[in-house]
C-alpha cells in the first residue's frame, strides 16, 4: 500500500468522526457510560479481593519444633516452607524474641515478674515460624505438608477463620465473575449497536465506493480506524474520571469513617489502574474495532 493511500485512510478515519459527529458522540458516550459502570464495579471488586487477601495473610500458621532441634535444622525447615508457591510470608521468632515481646506487653520493666524470669525464659522451646498463605483455601494442604517435615512438633492454624475467609473469597470471585461478565456483555451489545447504526447510515457511501472498485480493505480501513479512535476516546473518559473519583472516594471514606482505618484498606489508584487501565482501554478499543469491522462487513457485499 502506498504511503499516500495510508495517509488518505488515516485522514478519512478522522474525518468520518467529524462528518458523523452525532453518531460519533453517541458511540463515545455509550462506550464511556458502559466502561464507567464496568470500571466502578471492577474497582469495588479488586478492593474486596485485596481486603480478603489481606485478611488471609493475617491468619497465620505457627510451626513449633521438637525439643533439641538445632538452629540449622530449623533453618532447613524454614527453607522448605519458603520454597512453597502458596507461601506469602514466613518469619522466624525465637523463644527469646517471643518472651521479650510477651514480657514487654504484660510485665512492665522493673516489675517483679520481669525480674523473676529475667534469666529463665518460660517460653524455652517455643521457637517458631509464622507462616501466611497467599490463598487461604490452600492452607489445609500446606499444614499437612509442614506436619510431615522432620523436627516439626506441632502446627497451629485458625481453621474456622480460614474456612470463613475461603467462603468469602469464593463468593466474591463468583459474584464478580458473573457481574463483570454481564456488564461486559451489555457493554459489547450497546457499544457495537451504536457503532453499527453509525456505519449503517453510511451503507450508501460504502456501496458507491464498492461500485467504483474499492477493495474491502480500502473501504473498511477508515471505519475500523474510526472505531478504534472512538474506542480510545470512549474508554479515556471513564478512565480519567474514575482515576480522580476513586482517589476522592477513598479519601472521603477514610476521613469520614475512621473506624475503617485498620479494618479496611484500599488499593492505591496506581495499583488499581495497573490492571484497570489496560482492561478499560482494551475494552474500548476492542469493541470499537470489532464492531466497526463486522458492521462494515455486512455492507461490503455490493
Amino acid at each position: 500500500m502506498r504511503p499516500s493511500t495510508i495517509w488518505y485512510i488515516l485522514k478519512q478515519g478522522v474525518k468520518n468522526i467529524w462528518r458523523n459527529w452525532m453518531f460519533s458522540a453517541a458511540s463515545v458516550l455509550t462506550m464511556a457510560a458502559c466502561i464507567f459502570l464496568f470500571g466502578l464495579f471492577y474497582l469495588i471488586v479488586i478492593n474486596v479481593n485485596f481486603n480478603t487477601q489481606k485478611a488471609q495473610e493475617k491468619v497465620p500458621i505457627t510451626v513449633f519444633f521438637e525439643p533439641g532441634t538445632t538452629q540449622e535444622e530449623m533453618d532447613w525447615v524454614g527453607e522448605q516452607i519458603r520454597a512453597r508457591p502458596d507461601v506469602e510470608t514466613i518469619t522466624f521468632e525465637s523463644a527469646d524474641e517471643g518472651w521479650e515481646k510477651f514480657a514487654k506487653q504484660y510485665f512492665p520493666e522493673g516489675s517483679a515478674a520481669a525480674d523473676v524470669f529475667r534469666d529463665d525464659n518460660p517460653l524455652t522451646g517455643s521457637d517458631n515460624y509464622q507462616v501466611s498463605v497467599n490463598d487461604i483455601s490452600l492452607q489445609y494442604d500446606l499444614v499437612r505438608y509442614i506436619e510431615e517435615l522432620p523436627h516439626v512438633r506441632e502446627v497451629k492454624q485458625a481453621e474456622r477463620a480460614a474456612e470463613f475467609l475461603t467462603n468469602i473469597s469464593n463468593m466474591v470471585y463468583y459474584v464478580s465473575l458473573i457481574v463483570i461478565g454481564v456488564l461486559l456483555l451489555i457493554s459489547i451489545f450497546l457499544i457495537s449497536n451504536t457503532v453499527s447504526v453509525g456505519i449503517s447510515v453510511r451503507s450508501e457511501e460504502i456501496a458507491i465506493m464498492k461500485y467504483i472498485g474499492a477493495t474491502d480493505h480500502f473501504v473498511r480501513a477508515p471505519f475500523v480506524l474510526e472505531g478504534i479512535i472512538l474506542g480510545v476516546v470512549g474508554a479515556s473518559i471513564p478512565l480519567v474520571s474514575l482515576y480522580y473519583l476513586y482517589q476522592e472516594v477513598v479519601k472521603w471514606m477514610m476521613n469520614n469513617y475512621s473506624s475503617f482505618t485498620g479494618a479496611v484498606s484500599f488499593l492505591s489508584v496506581e495499583q488499581a489502574y495497573k490492571t484497570f487501565l489496560p482492561v478499560g482501554l482494551l475494552l474500548g478499543v476492542g469493541i470499537g474495532l470489532l464492531s466497526s469491522f463486522f458492521t462494515t462487513k455486512k455492507h461490503l457485499r455490493v
Binding site: I208, M209, G213
Partner: protein, 227 residues
C-alpha cells in the same frame, strides 16, 4: 468486450428477470438497452457490474468470467468499468474534486497523478470551475457530469450508464448524451440503459430492446420500440 451466453437471472420462483439472454458487444461500440420498467434491463446492468450473480449461463466482460469470479476479485474487475447511475450516487459530503479523485485513490494512484488527472477530466465534462462545490450545490445535470467524470477518470474499457438522463430535463439530457458519445469516440465501449425514446431515436446507435427479461430486438442504428 461484453459477451452474454444464455444468461438467466431469477430472484425467486416466479418468472426470471433476465431469461436466456444472449448479447455480444464489440469493443468501442455504443449500445442502448431499452425496455419498459420490469423488462430486465436494470438487472442486466447489475449482472454486468457483478452486483448480482446470474442463475444460469455465462457472462464475460473485458476478458473476465463473472460467474466464476471470487468476491475478492470483484473490486479489481470493477476498475475496468465506469459506471453512471440515474441518481448520480455521489459522496454528498465531498466536493466535486474529491468525488472524482476518489476513483483514482481506490486504485492507488499517487497524489501527483491525481492532481494532474482530475482537473483534466473536470475540464472535459465542463466543470473545471466548480471543483470545490459540494454535490448538493450543483444542478442535476452538473451532478451527472461529476458522476461521468468519476466514471472515466481511470480510462475504463467499458462505461455502463443506468438511466443516466432519468432525472434530467431534455436539454441537459442531450448534453450528457453528447458527452457519452464523445467518450465513446475515444474507444470506450458504452452501454446505456434507458427508456428515453427521444434520445434513442436521435442518436441512431445500436438498440437492444428487452421485454419480460428477453431480448426482443437488436438493431444497428435502431429506434426505440414500445415492446
Amino acid at each position: 468486450m461484453i459477451d452474454l451466453k444464455d444468461v438467466t437471472k431469477s430472484y425467486g420462483k416466479g418468472r426470471p428477470a433476465v431469461n436466456h439472454v444472449n448479447l455480444h458487444v464489440e469493443q468501442g461500440e455504443f449500445v442502448f438497452v431499452t425496455g419498459l420498467s420490469g423488462s430486465g434491463k436494470s438487472t442486466l446492468i447489475k449482472l454486468l457490474l457483478k452486483e448480482l450473480d446470474s442463475t444460469g449461463g455465462s457472462i464475460t466482460v473485458a476478458g473476465e468470467r463473472l460467474e466464476t469470479m471470487k468476491h475478492r476479485r470483484v473490486s479489481k474487475y470493477r476498475r475496468k468499468l465506469g459506471v453512471v447511475f440515474q441518481d448520480f450516487r455521489l459522496l454528498k459530503d465531498r466536493n466535486v474534486y474529491e468525488n472524482v479523485a476518489f476513483a483514482q485513490r481506490v486504485i492507488g494512484r499517487p497524489t501527483r497523478v491525481i492532481r494532474k488527472r482530475v482537473p483534466e477530466v473536470l475540464q472535459e465534462v465542463g466543470l473545471a470551475g466548480k471543483y470545490k462545490s459540494l454535490p448538493d450545490e450543483l444542478s442535476g445535470g452538473e451532478q451527472q457530469r461529476v458522476a461521468l467524470a468519476r466514471a472515466i477518470v481511470n480510462r475504463p474499457d467499458i462505461l455502463l450508464a443506468d438511466e443516466p438522463t432519468g432525472n434530467l430535463d431534455p436539454k441537459t439530457s442531450d448534453e450528457i448524451m453528447a458527452l457519452l458519445e464523445q467518450i465513446n469516440g475515444r474507444g470506450t465501449t458504452v452501454l446505456v440503459v434507458t427508456h428515453n425514446k427521444e434520445i434513442v431515436n436521435a442518436m441512431k446507435k445500436r438498440v437492444v430492446t428487452m421485454h419480460d427479461g428477453v431480448i426482443v430486438s437488436d438493431e444497428e442504428k435502431g429506434e426505440y420500440h414500445e415492446a
